[in-house]
């Protein structure tokens, strides 16, 4: 029996709807059953679905669950494959690891809260918001301890910003390895954040004039901490408690996190519990042994916070191949830590010729920007690429250009142009060009 029919049967018995609706709906169900059974022996692709015209679908001849059947709500059962995923061989365990957003199944610039990529250094803590406190101290006039109620009382701001792990694409420095949009680009997500400006909190405690740096620290087991220059903190950083209109998810730092717009994700400390002002950076483990970029000459770059401009075609992609020649809409996302996306160009011949794509509103600073361009595919093999130019005039580089500067061991900040190889059968592969 078809799964949807099972659902309508269990639905009726579990809600008790049949006792109230009686004969009419049961008759309808009987008709659906009969129809289904009648179609049963027919097999193969040509079989018309019992829900397709001229048949009326079972869900069109039954009554569904009522309001608050799902008091919170969840995606349709058939969307069960739209999930964050990890690469099990990448890390020792899942507690200090990363998961990837399923960009191949997302359609806009906002990442649904349940699909926002995760990065933990000591697993996901379950923090009690009643007990959670934010301490602000160090080179300040009046050190403070704020409860969540105190923080929510401050003037609020709402902004849309992406967060990207600088290791996004880090497995591709040497060669194309992972045949997937999700695994090569899914360490980025974008949300509407609501909270208080960090500058408001810092002005409230009073910044001593010798303060230059700010250390931010989480309440997780890693006590994850990073140093930030005071100027950035006063510019556009946010201390947020809400994500896409609801409380932060535990995965994203519930009840409180920092958002450092346009900078590498790990500085946007989650489960934020302490802010300390000082005169020098701290050089914590996460900004010395990690999140530093090793160059071919043996030197390393530290404090490389900025997310440079990057774009990727999200359709087609390895997970979403083409089905026969014809007119398609190439779709993708572009972003830059430098502000706004100015232009995105698309090539279908491996970068020989380019055409500018259409940018979709809203085009926001330090947020994902959607682009599309129509493409009539003739069925011949193609090499698809997108290239973003941001408002500073910076042009997204090729992997060859990046390797020339940085070699293959710098792990982080691979913002190179992605090439998708489209084969004649419509399948799509992650490749790199010479």
């Amino acid at each position: 029996m078809r799964p949807d029919l099972w659902r309508s049967i269990s639905l009726l018995s579990s809600t008790g709807a049949h006792t109230r609706l009686g004969r009419r709906s049961l008759l309808g169900l009987g008709a659906a059953l009969t129809g289904s059974l009648a179609l049963g022996p027919k097999q193969g692709n040509a079989e018309p679905s019992p829900a397709s015209p001229p048949a009326d679908a079972p869900w069109s001849q039954s009554i569904g669950p009522g309001v608050v059947d799902r008091p919170y709500g969840r995606p349709a059962d058939t969307e069960a494959g739209v999930i964050r995923r990890n690469v099990p061989w990448l890390t020792a365990g899942t507690e200090s690891s990363i998961s990837f957003s399923p960009l191949q199944d997302l359609h806009g610039i906002i990442t649904p809260n349940g699909l926002f990529f995760e990065r933990y250094h000591a697993g996901r803590p379950d923090v009690d918001p009643e007990q959670h406190k934010l301490m602000i101290h160090g080179l300040v006039e009046r050190p403070l301890l704020l409860s969540m109620k105190d923080i929510i009382r401050f003037p609020s701001v709402t902004r849309i910003h992406f967060i990207e792990c600088p290791a996004n694409g880090g497995m591709e420095w040497r060669a194309a390895q992972l045949n997937s949009l999700q695994f090569n680009h899914g360490m980025i997500s974008c949300a509407e954040w609501t909270g208080v400006r960090l500058s408001t909190l810092l002005e409230e405690v009073g910044i001593k004039k010798e303060a230059r740096w700010v250390m931010v620290e989480g309440a997780d087991g890693a006590h994850m901490n990073r140093s930030l220059p005071l100027d950035k903190c006063l510019d556009d950083c946010l201390v947020v408690y809400a994500q896409n209109g609801e409380a932060l998810r535990p995965e994203q730092g519930y009840p409180l996190r920092l958002v450092v717009p346009g900078w590498e994700g790990n500085v946007s400390i989650k489960w934020l519990r302490r802010i300390k002002l000082g005169d020098k950076p701290w050089h914590s483990r996460e900004e010395t042994s990690k999140y530093t970029d090793l160059m071919p000459d043996g030197t390393s770059r530290g404090f490389t916070w900025l997310i440079d401009a990057k774009s990727v075609i999200t359709f087609p992609c390895p997970e979403k191949p083409l089905h026969g020649p014809g007119l398609y809409e190439i779709r993708g996302l572009a972003w830059t830590g430098n502000g706004k996306v100015k232009r995105v160009d698309v090539s279908t011949d491996g970068g020989v010729n380019w055409q500018s794509a259409r940018l979709h509103e809203p085009v926001l600073s330090k947020a994902l920007t959607k682009f599309t361009i129509p493409w009539r595919w003739d069925g011949a093999p193609a090499l698809l690429e997108s290239r973003v130019i941001d408002e500073t005039g910076y042009v997204q580089p090729t992997i060859a250009q990046l390797r020339k500067q940085r070699g293959t061991n710098s792990v982080y900040h691979n913002n190179s142009i992605q090439t998708w190889q489209v084969k004649a059968d419509g399948s799509v592969f992650d490749v790199q060009l010479g």
Binding site: H137, L145, E203, D308, G351, Q355, F429, L433
Partner: protein, 226 residues
């Protein structure tokens, strides 16, 4: 302004005052909102755990040597990091890799890569052991720091780590970090037509057939380490 308008304006002002004052105009400064509590020295002391890498500011009282460090290490660290810091499975190596940073496959360890010794104390103290972070005594963290530095041949076996000695340890890779971002380090003109010779466009690597990709449909893949 006519007297009736003036009268109405005064009435409105009176109503606003009665309901509270809109506060847009005032200039915020320290204590303007007055929310929360002043953090007491005792409260701050409990959470003020950081020690700065470069100068060790924030390192607490206490001390520990290599022998004690080897005992704590065997009990708390060896299961993941290996008996001699060689790393178990995919857990990080702590030892080795000296001189490898220019190699094709560099080994980044405490000895070969970390620029500052106090950072090691800070990190062990704040985040280790992984299953029970921030549970070791300051003395034991000093001892572990001494032991791991000794395993890397950076300090002698009689070395005792404390707030005075640790900042003086010169890590081998200390001077090889650039702390200002040199990017953008690429520049290109966004050419639109006949940008490269079509004959030169060649696929030099492909993910096809590498068998490294977990599945991206259906449930989570359990693909094991390769």
């Amino acid at each position: 302004m006519s007297s009736s308008v003036k009268h109405r304006a005064l009435l409105c002002a009176g109503m606003v005052i009665a309901a509270g004052t809109f506060a847009y105009a005032a200039e915020p400064g320290p204590g303007y909102y007055g929310y929360g509590q002043r953090a007491t020295p005792e409260q701050i002391a409990g959470w003020d755990i950081d020690a700065r890498g470069e100068d060790g500011v924030g390192l607490p009282e206490g001390r520990g040597g290599v022998i004690r460090g080897s005992e704590v290490y065997a009990e708390q660290c060896a299961a993941c990091h290996g008996t001699f810091g060689e790393g178990e499975g995919r857990f990080p190596k702590l030892v080795g890799g000296a001189g490898s940073l220019r190699h094709d496959r560099p080994e980044l360890t405490v000895g070969s890569y970390w620029p500052f010794a106090p950072t090691l104390w800070d990190y062990i103290n704040r985040a280790m052991p992984m299953a029970a972070p921030h549970t070791l005594s300051a003395d034991d963290v000093y001892a572990l720091t001494a032991y791991i530095l000794n395993l890397n041949d950076i300090v002698p076996s009689e070395f005792v780590a404390d707030r005075e000695s640790l900042p003086k340890v010169k890590m081998p890779n200390r001077d090889n970090f650039l702390w200002t971002d040199p990017r953008p380090d690429t520049a290109a003109k966004p050419c639109m037509n006949a940008c490269v010779d079509p004959a030169s466009v060649k696929i030099v690597s492909t993910a096809e057939g590498k068998n490294l990709t977990p599945r991206t449909t259906g449930p989570l893949d359990t693909m094991l380490a390769k």
